[in-house]
């Protein structure tokens, strides 16, 4: 059992001031009301209750549901409630969690206002731009999850792209580094193996190593170089050998220039002079004695203290003698100084040689040259001894001692032994290449090692680049296919929708049953299409005669576009119900206004037939259309599924008056028993107004136009009274007294019930009661309790008034009453001419005249 709305209660919202109840009892609703009588307030209230807002009050500058939803005369919060067939009630304050599951499902479907179509919305869809149209369709297409996935894929794809670009850059840098190392200016990325091999092969072949055929052989080339370098053993050893050889040569050279002879000769000469001339001792004595004599000891001899006899001659003779002796010593002094200098020079040379032995010793130790070390140690020991000897005072150095030391030095044959050591080191060094020869080998070895590393790095960068590219391609493919899947799925949905829209459009345009030729006339093959090249964009396409793929608004009239918009909405609504099967509400708020009668009839029939299983709320401001919709209900056999309501009038204080005629009539009956005169006058006046409003439409009364068509009794009564007397004599014959009485008394309504004036005080209660009874009588004469319709002019015969069911018939005097024909009968009688027409007497007469003309001809 489908969940239906049983009752709607609204108070204090939009145009609805006082509590107003629509007792649907699960039925659909047809609501008629003139413009400004609050029809849309019912629609707005339902939207507010189900969605939390009124879409027409949102998005416009300074207007909002919260501020402009509540009725301006009600200070408290609005009250809106819906009672469902499951006896569950949903109000603005309801906690949805506590509601039954079916009601929750119903409300879930009702959350988006996709079931409400207002007049102003119809063209929005048709006229909107493709992207805006997609936005409008979005509520129908719950693609949020899909779009979020696409966004995530887009981000992942972008990231993968960035990584691929980065990997590309890394590979480029790696190749450049490799090319620079190999020494190649022009290269491809990644650098080719053969190019690297060729460049390296030139250098390998130059040193006698075979060319590289592939870099997998790089290890072989490195091994060959390593072998070559290994022959050197330790390059340090080579350098040490060369260094030791150099130091040994220097030592040998230093030893060879050691000048023992010069010092020995000087020493020998000195010592000979000292023996032959005098002891060196006297030199000082003489020098000192001279100073004494000349300064301190002028009266006596400083040695023997014998007086000089005070003869200056003796003293001067002594001084002369001392000078003479000192002159004699002068050669010895000079010789001593010379010997001393040469001794120091020899000592310095020896010490220098001694010092040069230390680094040499380190080298020999490094080389493991044991014999060499022994020799060097011996040399050093001899040098140390010599130094120690020469460091003595010169007068302590004897020629013999010196000769012994020199002899000992020479006996050691250090020069010869050093020469042998040098030869040995030279031989060892000679067996190895020179550092100049080894340098290119080492450099090439280092280069090969670097190339190996760079090639490996380029390979890694290449792999990573390829991997990043692959991931990027996978990511972009995933995204592309996701977009394709969405577009295709949406397009398939659109295709189904388009077919539905096109089918609906064919039905409302009556083309469904037309010949194939006429089926291709005008706008045909309406379809929604996803624009593949643009994200989130929907275009509307159609064919127009021979022109293919045109936008409907390029050729369609406003009415046609209205119908297309309506058909689109209906197709979407049907599709949306597939998504929310429990939710079956369909609200059409005055949407058939601009469509011509013929199409409007078909549209109404289509809605009632195709959406018969929906709970429909249909509003209209067109009285004739309202009546006709009631006919269509019967024709479509859904009459029992509809509650038809009329908003008789609307006032700011009371809101819309939607009472049924019988309710008003019954209320008067009660007032006639115990009501006050003003109450009776007011209610009787309202009922009379109601009757006159109905008659204004059905009798097509000529009334002076008034804004909002809110006519009062005084504005309709004269035309009504006149028409009844002249055009409907059958009715007047039976109800003339009532009419005449009311023609006198209708003003009572104004005097007593509506406006206070002095006349009211003169009206007796009896007169008011009479007015009430007369209005009730007129109502009873004009309203059929069976078909719940007021009488109306029969299509034929002219001048007859009857209700729809024929229970109330006022035939033309002298003629038999003719039960009104059903629509089917009329269509049959007019041979289909009135199939989709709004039927009325004028139309029938027009047709009848045409028929008669044809018959005469």
């Amino acid at each position: 059992m489908m969940l239906k709305i049983d009752r709607i209660e609204i108070e204090g919202f939009r145009g609805i001031t006082r509590a107003c109840t629509l007792p649907l009892n699960g039925k659909s609703l047809l609501l008629f009301g003139e413009n400004g009588t609050g029809k849309s307030s019912f629609v707005d209230a339902l939207e507010r209750l189900f969605t939390g807002k009124v879409s027409t009050l949102e998005g416009r500058m300074g207007v909002s549901t919260e501020r402009h939803g509540p009725n301006i005369r009600i200070s408290g919060s609005p009250k809106i409630s819906v009672r469902f067939s499951e006896d569950s009630e949903f109000t603005l304050e309801s906690n949805t969690e506590l509601l039954p599951l079916t009601v929750k499902s119903y409300l879930a479907g009702a959350q988006e206002p996709l079931y409400i179509l207002r007049r102003r919305q119809i063209l929005d869809f048709i006229e909107s731009k493709p992207q805006d149209r997609y936005e409008l369709l979005q509520p129908f297409l719950p693609l949020t999850e899909v779009e979020e996935t696409e966004t995530a894929l887009r981000r992942a794809s972008q990231k993968a792209d960035n990584e691929a670009t980065e990997a590309e850059r890394a590979l480029s840098a790696s190749s450049r580094e490799l090319a620079q190392a190999v020494g190649i200016g022009e290269y491809q990325i990644p650098m080719g193996e053969q190019q690297v091999c060729t460049a390296l092969s030139v250098r390998l072949q130059a040193i006698g190593i075979v060319a590289l055929r592939s870099l997998s052989n790089l290890g072989d080339a490195i091994s060959a170089l390593d072998t070559r370098v290994a022959k050197v053993g330790d390059t340090e050893r080579l350098i040490t050998l060369h260094s030791a050889r150099s130091l040994l040569s220097e030592l040998q050279s230093s030893l060879s220039v050691l000048d023992f002879t010069s010092f020995r000769t000087a020493l020998h000469t000195l010592q000979s002079q000292e023996v032959t001339v005098a002891k060196t001792f006297f030199e000082d004595v003489l020098q000192r004695g001279l100073e004494w004599i000349q300064t301190d000891w002028q009266g006596q001899c400083p040695l023997c203290e014998t007086p000089w006899d005070k003869k200056p001659r003796d003293r001067e003779a002594l001084v002369a003698r001392i000078h003479a002796r000192l002159d004699e010593m002068k050669e010895v002094v000079k010789s001593r100084q010379d010997t001393d200098r040469k001794g120091r020079e020899l000592l310095d040379s020896l010490r220098e040689v001694q010092n040069s032995c230390r680094p040499l010793r380190t080298k020999l130790e490094t080389l493991g040259e044991v014999d060499g070390l022994k020799l060097l140690d011996a040399v050093a020991e001899s040098l140390r001894n010599l130094c120690t000897f020469l460091e003595q005072r010169l007068d302590q150095i004897t020629t013999n001692g010196l000769d012994a030391a020199i002899t000992s030095w020479h006996t050691a044959s250090y020069a010869t032994r050093l020469q042998e050591l040098i030869a040995r080191v030279k031989t060892a060094a000679g067996r190895l290449p020179s550092p100049e020869e080894i340098k290119p080998l080492v450099e090439l070895r280092l280069l090969l090692g670097r190339i190996d590393e760079l090639w490996r790095r380029q390979k890694v960068a290449f792999n990573q680049r390829n991997l990043a590219r692959q991931r990027s391609e996978v990511a972009s493919t995933m995204l592309r296919l996701a977009e394709e899947a969405r577009k295709e799925e949406v397009q398939e949905l659109f295709d189904r929708l388009s077919k539905d829209i096109d089918d609906l459009y064919k039905k409302v345009t009556g083309r469904e049953t037309d010949s194939e030729k006429s089926q291709n006339q005008g706008l045909t093959k309406l379809r929604l299409e996803v624009r593949p090249e643009v994200r989130g964009s929907v275009i509307y396409q159609a064919d127009f005669y021979e022109r293919k793929d045109v936008v409907p608004n390029a050729y369609g009239s406003d009415a046609q576009l209205d119908m297309i918009g309506l058909c689109t909405f209906l197709a979407l609504r049907r599709w949306y119900k597939n998504q929310h099967p429990v939710f079956d509400l369909l609200i059409l708020d005055d949407v058939l206004t601009s469509i011509d009668a013929q199409h409007a009839v078909r549209t109404a029939e289509l809605i009632l037939k195709e959406f018969g299983n929906y709970q429909i709320i249909l509003t209209t401001h067109d009285r004739i259309w309202y009546e006709y919709l009631r006919d269509i209900q019967a024709r479509c056999r859904v009459k029992g599924q509809f509650l038809n309501k009329v908003i008789h009038k609307w006032t700011l204080e009371e809101g819309p008056d939607i009472r049924e005629p019988e309710e008003e009539r019954g209320h008067i009956d009660r007032l006639l028993v115990d009501g006050t005169a003003p109450q009776i006058a007011t209610e009787a006046g309202r009922l009379l107004e109601h009757v006159l409003q109905e008659m204004r439409y059905s009798l097509r009364l000529s009334v002076q136009a008034k804004r909002g068509e809110l006519y009062e009794i005084g504005e309709i009564w004269p035309a009504f009274y006149s028409a009844m007397r002249k055009s409907y004599p059958g009715f007047y014959e039976k109800c003339g007294e009532t009419l005449d009485a009311l023609d006198i008394r209708w003003t009572i309504r104004n005097w007593v019930g509506a406006h206070f004036n002095i006349w009211a005080s003169r009206i007796s209660r009896e007169e008011v009661l009479e007015f009430g009874h007369t209005v009730s009588e007129l109502f009873d004469r004009m309203f059929c309790k069976d078909c719940r319709r007021f009488v109306e002019p029969s299509m034929t015969p002219a001048g007859q008034l009857s209700c729809r069911c024929g229970h109330l018939i006022y035939p033309v005097p002298g003629k038999e009453p003719l039960k009104p024909l059903s629509r089917e009968e009329i269509v049959k009688m007019t041979r289909g001419a009135f199939r989709d027409a709004r039927l009325n007497t004028d139309l029938y007469f027009e047709w009848k005249r045409a028929e008669m003309g044809r018959e005469h001809n």
């Binding site: 990511a475 493919t477 995933m478 296919l481 899947a485 295709e488």
Partner: protein
């Protein structure tokens, strides 16, 4: 009342079908995507990024 398959679900199925019929996206990855879909994590770019890292093995393996 039959189970209503949402358009999102239909799109996902179509997407998976397309992924399976193409030779660029590895089959293992499609299974992982299905798993993410079940976990409602397909809107997580990070999770998709992690899946992409599995394409072609790990970076380390390629090093």
């Amino acid at each position: 009342m039959g189970q209503v398959v949402s358009i999102s679900e239909q799109i996902f199925k179509r997407w998976c079908e397309k992924l399976r019929n193409n030779n660029i996206v590895p089959q293992e990855l499609i299974k992982e995507l299905e798993l993410l879909h079940q976990q409602r994590k397909l809107s997580d770019a990070g999770a998709i990024g992690e899946l992409l890292k599995q394409v072609g093995g790990t970076n380390d393996a390629k090093d």
